[in-house]
Symmetry: C2
Subunit: 368 residues, 2 copies
């Protein structure tokens, strides 16, 4: 069965390990010896409550944040809902949320915050056409806890293909990370972040749930926000994400994906694998004598989304089409950027990248 599978470079929803899919499927008719499917079980039943608690625990363990004062909330609405919710929960009067702009998702986060309260641009890579990351460190020096509710950064820019390699110490100012497209792909100092979130549909499973990892002091602040209970982070924390009916099966898929990640060797193993996969593609680009040109400057390149251009748009179209015909899916660049994008999240095997690099070399020889 594995042989017939497409090499899947979709930007998200994205490739998942076959064994995770098989395990997820096996819960559909019967689960936990209850004579019913997981999908038919009450979210307040013991097996589901336990499953959700275990998923929280697994995620904290993988990032080494157990007993470090963080909770995991399982929320809905995608990472895009977090753009609004973090401002609703954490933008207190008299302070601004400050945004590092490094790609279009970070711009969206900023624009949504503007509909809620005071949001400011802290640094921007827009004038550089998103080809270079802006420096966060320099901009930070001007801020104080009194004028800044939080600093927001998108750790990996899915559409453009850039990725921050280090994160500053923001002292008493909460640093918030949108890690939708690179969570669990590398070791970072997670404690630099007061909160980070990720839509599941890249490294955490299929679409349908968003993980929010949040420090307890931010939960306390959120408890005071005058917003609907269903949108308050504190509501999810105090109810173990069971205030209302959560997307049970999506959380279960996340659990299976976390267990798979742990079996592979955890975040350290993912980092090694990601570097190997990215190197295969970037070497094909850099060794192409200029036929393939990376969109992002080398130091800022992403190990999750590799983006590149070909000499002209008709060659780019031909590349995507021939690749599709050869069994490589999802390679067309985002409409706002053009060119080619290969998304190589944790579920994408090294073998897929090796095969794609081979196709790239072959295509270049034929068409370059």
């Amino acid at each position: 069965m594995e042989m017939d599978r497409t090499y899947n470079f979709n930007p998200g929803p994205a490739a998942l390990p076959l064994e995770v899919l098989e395990q997820g499927r096996d819960s559909f008719i019967e689960f936990a010896g209850q004579g019913m499917s997981l999908l038919e079980m009450s979210h307040r039943s013991k097996p589901v409550e336990r499953m959700i608690a275990e998923t929280e625990q697994l995620l904290l363990e993988l990032i080494g944040l157990e007993d470090a004062g963080y909770r995991v909330l399982f929320m809905s609405g995608g990472a895009s809902a977090q753009f609004a919710l973090l401002a609703m929960n954490l933008l207190t009067a008299g302070k601004a949320g400050r945004y590092v702009l490094a790609g279009s998702f970070s711009e969206k986060a900023y624009e949504e915050a503007l509909t809620v309260g005071a949001a400011e641009v802290l640094a921007s890579g827009k004038e550089a056409g998103w080809a270079r990351l802006p420096s966060i460190e320099v901009a930070l020096t001007a801020l104080t806890e009194e004028d800044t509710a939080y600093v927001h950064v998108t750790t990996n820019n899915t559409i453009e293909g850039s990725q921050f390699k280090t994160f500053p110490d923001t002292g008493g100012i909460p640093l918030i990370g949108d890690m939708t497209s690179d969570i669990l792909s590398r070791k970072i100092d997670w404690t630099r972040f007061a909160m980070f979130y990720a839509g599941a549909q890249k490294n955490l499973g299929p679409a349908g749930v968003t993980a929010v990892v949040i420090r307890e002091d931010l939960l306390a602040a959120s408890a005071a926000a005058k917003i609907p209970a269903i949108f308050r982070y504190a509501t999810y924390a105090s109810n173990n994400s069971l205030y209302n009916t959560p997307p049970v099966h999506s959380i279960y898929m996340m659990k299976l994906m976390l267990e798979w990640t742990a079996r592979q060797g955890g975040v350290a193993a993912m980092e090694t694998r990601s570097a190997e996969k990215a190197a295969l593609l970037y070497e094909a680009i850099d060794g192409s004598g200029g036929f393939y040109r990376g969109i992002v400057e080398k130091p800022d390149r992403s190990a999750m989304n590799a983006t590149w251009r070909l000499p002209d748009e008709s060659l780019e179209k031909a590349f995507a089409q021939e690749a599709q015909a050869a069994g490589f899916a999802g390679l067309a660049g985002h409409r706002s950027v053009g060119g080619i994008r290969a998304s190589i999240y944790n579920g994408v095997p090294v073998e897929a990248c090796r095969a794609l690099a081979g196709f790239m070399n072959d295509f270049r020889k034929r068409r370059g």
Copy 2:
């Protein structure tokens, strides 16, 4: 396999037809001949776009609202998110949202609206201990389009076990229905409602998505609301629920459930079946010589959630425990009401109700 299955009376997530579960499972490894799972496919791929459009069309067809100026939005966060979102989208300045209170979910809807803007109680059954439905008609006469943004009613009270049988003509005032626990279970005049919504996890599939059926004039009003784009109904309508990553597999499960509903004979068949199922239980209650006592007065009883009490709490506990041991799951009443509740949504077969009625008679003979 069917023989070993528990009789599932869970209040939601709830019983689903085995064939729907089997079909849903079959998309987990491969879908639409693409060499990948439905869970790995881009939400912007043709097969997924088509699947979502077909789900919208199917729901409109089942309720006879095709070409009637309504759209279906597939949203996240459960029905509870709608409590907040409808107020955020539709509570215009100078007007109040008016709430018919008939059970605890309608109270929650009202309380969430209070965090957003002006909300008022239009009629309440609280003093009657939720055992009787309040009259909507009488209260309506005092309202005008100038002072009322909308009237909100929970068509079926899941926890208490009551159900509105008719809905008033509210003229130019939008009537909004929370139909989470009885959508597609009976023929009603849907055009009386300007908008209605339902969390999927009773009659529409497993948890993970909420269907919002909304008339186009309300979409226009929502487009003007100064709220985050991700929370605007108009955003979902103009993007066919693909503004951001939707819960793809949850929508697919809804599609399968809608197709199953159509195969059974649609809403008319569900109404007949629901009446038959409810009659089995209410006859066991009413024929018990007072051993079982219905919690809701007869004219207001629900055909989706039957609630009753036994002579004392220890008998209620024994009933739930013995029923569980005999293969009937999910019968404990909600903690706020006590007693017994049997939820008999569309996915619950008549046979399950017949078996439960038999168990009730047997238990009464032994313990009454």
